[in-house]
Structure formats: structure tokens, C-alpha cells
Symmetry: C2
Subunit: 365 residues, 2 copies
């Protein structure tokens, strides 16, 4: 059973406004290091999958930009959805494509915009998950991150019994557990209970399963969605393909894979992630992931700070940002828009983006 990788790259990343825009969302940005998020995601796969077994699913508008960032990929490796319908249809679409040439395919599904280190740890973890799937063909494997604070922005996975046989019984392998339950993004009080309990993980949104198994699950729990995806797959070699694709895909009710499948499926295993993980959910993350100067400032681009502490500054090599007498500030400069925010207020960037839209200033989005 050969391993395939599916990278989900449909996110809009409004939290990184004004750097992220509708035409250049987070996965296309260089936020950490010198490669874009999606380039790093592909780099991280190493030789885990052969190039013809890599599939990126994104919005159709982003296909050219992604192709430009990943010139080594063949055109067929990038699939553009005609509209956004959340993760379940995206995964179903990918599963149908993968299974066409390889009915036994095992799929590793992952977001395109997280930081995961090291690549070796990640690859080993995926290989381990693939073994767990080989042992039980209908099994779904997820990855859980040990929570470090009561985050409200992640879903949680409650673990049950530890797996002790087969691959999970080998030496030096990551801990793997049956999943007791998937939990939606909680309020902070509930999140605190989860963290205190010690048996909850953050859901990293990385899955390993047989393509056939996830399609079976979609057929069972989301028959209408499955039916439309099957029609799209059946049309794939016909001249009507684009028409069918658009019509059927648009008719699907958007749903996340968690709601569509995870909350119902039976044999789900969570592997405690043996890699460093960060979802890079906001500018704050940049301060976690980049080195800081002596005053705690995190800077990309040309900056001069006087009495400036714990700032996050993002500019370019040409545009000088000067900060004076500021603490805990975020300054992001782009050619047509600048954000200056208090770090503690940063969650509101999404609200800002909505406001900008309402004001009719869509050209800045």
C-alpha cells in the first residue's frame, strides 16, 4: 500500500492581514525562515512520497500562485476547487483522485500553513501512522499535540485506551491511543479542564487513512456529499468535467471533516505528535518562532526601535519602520496598508478584516 500526501491549501488566513490578502493568503507567505508556508510543507515531506503521489488542493484562484512557488510540481499535482466548501469535500475530492490509480492508497492529509519540526520527526510519525492503518484498513489516524495552555482556538481530542500491539507495540514508537471523543473549540473554562485532565490533545488537523476508508466513511455519514463527489470523479475524463465539477461542488453543503466524519467514525487512533508543532495562527506566533533582540522585539525588515519592547515588526528591506516608546506592539507594513496593533488585542484582526469589507475597502483585502 503506497503512501500519498494531500496538502490542504484553501485557507484565507485573514489573521495575517495586511500581509495576507485574498490573493495571497497565509500559505503563500514567508512568515518564518526563507520559504513560504506551503513550500516548507512540501519540503518537509522529503522522500516520504514520490512526486506523482503528492496532491495539493486549493481554491482555483490560487492555483497559478502555488504553481509558481512550486515549479518542480507537475500541473496535475495542484487541484483547484471552484469554491470553498470546508475540509470534508476537499478531502473527499482528493481521496477520489488518489484512489483512481491506486485503490489501496494510504493518504496523509495535512494543512499547508503550519510549522512542524523536524522534518525527520514528521516523516517518521507519518510512517508510523501508515503502519497503524495497514493493520486495520478502516482505521483513521490523527495527530494530537500536548496542550501547553488552555487554547480556545483549537479542537481537542480526548484519548482512550493506549494501543499496545502491532506497530504500536514496537520500541521507540510514539504513544498511540484509541480516540474517546473529538471536542469542538471550547470556551476557556472547559479548555482549562481539558488541560488539567492530561488526557486531551489539540487536534493538529493531520490525518492518515486509506483513501477507500475515508470515502466509505463519507458515503456512510455524508451520502449526498459523497454522491456529488462521485459524480465529479466519474466525469473526470469527459469533456464535461469542468462543468460537472463546478455544478456538483458548488451544490455541496460545506462541512469540516471533524463534523462530517471524526465525530461519528469508530476506529480512530490519536498519535501523540513526536514533532514540534505550531499552527502559526496569528502574528503572536511569529514571536514564538523567530529569534528576538535584547528588548524582546521580533523584527523582519528594516526597523529602528527606541525604547521599544516586545514589539513584532514586519516590514520590507526598503521600507523603514521606526518605533518610539512602545511596548507590546505589532506593526505590519505593506505597500498599501499598515497595521498597528496592541499584541493583546490581536485576536480582533479578523474583526478588522470584516469591517474593512463592510466599509467597501475591499481593495485592501
Amino acid at each position: 500500500m503506497a503512501l500519498h500526501a494531500v496538502i490542504m491549501a484553501g485557507g484565507s488566513g485573514t489573521r495575517f492581514w495586511p500581509l495576507s490578502r485574498s490573493a495571497q493568503p497565509k500559505q503563500l507567505l514567508t512568515l518564518v525562515g526563507n520559504r513560504t508556508m506551503i513550500q516548507s510543507t512540501v519540503d518537509r515531506l522529503g522522500d516520504l512520497v514520490t512526486p506523482e503521489r503528492l496532491l495539493i488542493v486549493t481554491g482555483e484562484r490560487l492555483v497559478p500562485a502555488i504553481a509558481e512557488q512550486l515549479p518542480e510540481l507537475p500541473a496535475r499535482a495542484i487541484l483547484g476547487e471552484p469554491c470553498r466548501r470546508d475540509t470534508a469535500p476537499c478531502i473527499g475530492l482528493a481521496a477520489f483522485q488518489v484512489i483512481r490509480d491506486d485503490p489501496d492508497a494510504i493518504m496523509a492529509v495535512m494543512p499547508s500553513d503550519h510549522v512542524i519540526q523536524t522534518a525527520e520527526d514528521f516523516q517518521q510519525a507519518i510512517r508510523f501512522a501508515a503502519k497503524l492503518v495497514e493493520e486495520a484498513p478502516q482505521r483513521i489516524v490523527t495527530f494530537g499535540i500536548r496542550p501547553t495552555y488552555p487554547a480556545e482556538s483549537f479542537g481537542y481530542i480526548e484519548r482512550g485506551e493506549r494501543l499496545k500491539t502491532g506497530a504500536a507495540g514496537a520500541n521507540n514508537c510514539p504513544a498511540a491511543y484509541q480516540v474517546r471523543r473529538f471536542r469542538e473549540k471550547p470556551k476557556v473554562e472547559t479548555a482549562r479542564e481539558y488541560v488539567a485532565a492530561g488526557s486531551f490533545y489539540w487536534n493538529a488537523g493531520i490525518f492518515v487513512w486509506r483513501a477507500a476508508a475515508i470515502l466509505d466513511a463519507l458515503k456512510k455519514y455524508e451520502p449526498e456529499m459523497h454522491g456529488r463527489l462521485a459524480k465529479i470523479a466519474a466525469a473526470s475524463d469527459t469533456t464535461d468535467f469542468l462543468q460537472v465539477f463546478r455544478k456538483e461542488f458548488e451544490a455541496i453543503t460545506g462541512k469540516s471533516i471533524d463534523y462530517a466524519v471524526m465525530e461519528h467514525a469508530e476506529d480512530i487512533v490519536v498519535v501523540e505528535a513526536p514533532f514540534r508543532w505550531d499552527d502559526v495562527g496569528s502574528w503572536q506566533a511569529i514571536a514564538r518562532l523567530q529569534p528576538q533582540d535584547a528588548d524582546g522585539n521580533t523584527v523582519v525588515g528594516k526597523h529602528l526601535g527606541l525604547r521599544t519592547e516586545k514589539a513584532i515588526v514586519r516590514s520590507s528591506d526598503d521600507h523603514l519602520v521606526v518605533t518610539l516608546g512602545l511596548k507590546n506592539c505589532i506593526v505590519v507594513h505593506t505597500p498599501d496598508a499598515t497595521l498597528v496593533a496592541n499584541r493583546d488585542d490581536e485576536e480582533s484582526v479578523r474583526q478588522l478584516v470584516q469591517l474593512i469589507e463592510e466599509l467597501g475597502w475591499g481593495k485592501y483585502l
Copy 2:
């Protein structure tokens, strides 16, 4: 005796960085209203002087930009100094030019970058000062602003006896006093004493005198400076003029008119300014001079604020500045540099400009 106006426009205005630059100092900026500071200064004169009796003295590099902003002026109305030598040589140069065609000329000398309202009040005040000068040919008239706080950034004028005869004895004229003493920019404790005493004014840097009188004073107190200025004046119709001008002017030791003359001269009168005055010394001034929104924000250009209070934002109509969760902040966007400062820290902008120079980033200055 005809009235002439001399506008001193040599300032560098570093406190308005990044909007002010060496090639575009404060007097060339539109900081309040829709005219630049120097345009407003010329507008304010109204029909106080005829166009051929207006002279602007500036740095030679700024002559083209000033000519562009004031297309109605003849070329000879703008005099470019080859280098900066403070106000005394600038005033002497202007006096020599004015006296050439009009030995009895009365000169009103004023900065190019202050806000003064109303124009009518200003014109009446200058006319009144001219009368005081007509009564006493060697007299120097200055304008004093009633201090509203113990400013450290202004020189002070201590008043003596009130004038009660002649023009100063007329009805409805401003109060005029003999000057007891000019005081340099004080420390705040001294400034507090001045304000408490009630007999001190801020020195507005506006003077009225006969051109012949100020030249006599320069000859008496700064004979070397006067000698060099006289040589420049003598060369004015010769082919050597530019050479002589540069050589002699560069050889002058720079000095302010306060140090060179005011602290020594005998018959100095201070008129309590009957106009509204603001030196627009820093971004803070913009908040005094422009209307604010309900949250106390002062905005020029495209801005969206969320939980933003008492901010001063300066951008353009194209560049969107978004502020989030900020109090007392200054944000100034220009195409190649952005300043984000705490309002309480704003005095340090000059220090910043120096630092930028030291870092070799002169292209931003």
C-alpha cells in the same frame, strides 16, 4: 516708510519626520488645512505688503520647491542661502536687499512655518508695530505670546514698562511694553517661575524694524558678520556675485538674531500678540490644530481605528492605516518610512533622526 515682509524659510523641521525630509522640510508641508505652511504664511500677509516687497530667504536647495508652491511670486522674491548660518545672517542679508531700493524700508520678519490666526489680527498687529517703529527709528518691535504652560522649547521675553504714548496710547491697540530682557530656552523649573510671574512672554520670532536699524545693530554688535554681508551686498550687480556670496556667507559664524542683537539692543518693545499663535513644533501640535473624532483621534488620510483613543494618524488617501487597541499613539506613514510613536515620547523624534543618520540610512532623511 513702506512696509516689507521677510519670511525666513530655512528650517529643517526634523520633528516632523518621516513626513518632513531634508528636501521637504516642515514649511513645505501641508500640516493643517489644505495649504502648505509657507503658502499660508504668504496668504496671511494679504495686502499688508505689495508683491515686490515680499522676500523669502531659504536654503538654495529649497528655492525650486518654494517657487513651485508660490508660482505667483517673481523669481527675485526668493533668496537662497548657500549654507545654513542661523537667523542673524539671514536677516542681515534680507535687510541689505530691502534697503537697496528703499532706504527707509520697515521690515516685518517672520518664520515660514507657524500657524497664526486670524490673518486680519496679524495684519493689524504688524501695522501697529510699524507705527511704533515709525515713532522711534532705531526701535525693535517683537511679539510676545502669553505662555499657557511652562514650555522649555521657547525663548522668553520679560516685559518692563508699558508704552502709553503715540500709537501705543491709541484706543483698542494691543498692549506694548519695553523689553526688560530676553531669556534663552529655560529649564522647566525656571519656565514655571516665568509663567507664575505673569510678566513673561514666549518669543514668537516675529520682528518689525527699519532695515537700516537692524543693520546698524549688526554693525555694532557683529561687525565681522556685518562686514561680510556688506561685501555680498556690494557685489550684487557684478558677475562675481555668486562667488562672493558663497565665499563670504560660508565664512560667517552662524548666530541667532536673539544672541546677536536682541540681548544687547536698547530700545526693544514687545507687543502682546493679539493673534492666535502656534509654532506647530511637533506632531502633538496637529492634535491642537485639527478637529478630533469622538475618541479623541486626529486623522489625516485613510484610517480605520478599533479601540483606538487619542491617536494622531497621518497617512495618504491611498494607504490604509489600521490601528487596534492603542492609546496615545502617533502613526505617520510615508511611502518609504513609517513612524509609530508614543505621544509622550515624541520629543525624541529629533534623536531618532540623528540615529538614522548615524546608521547610514540618510536616504530616509
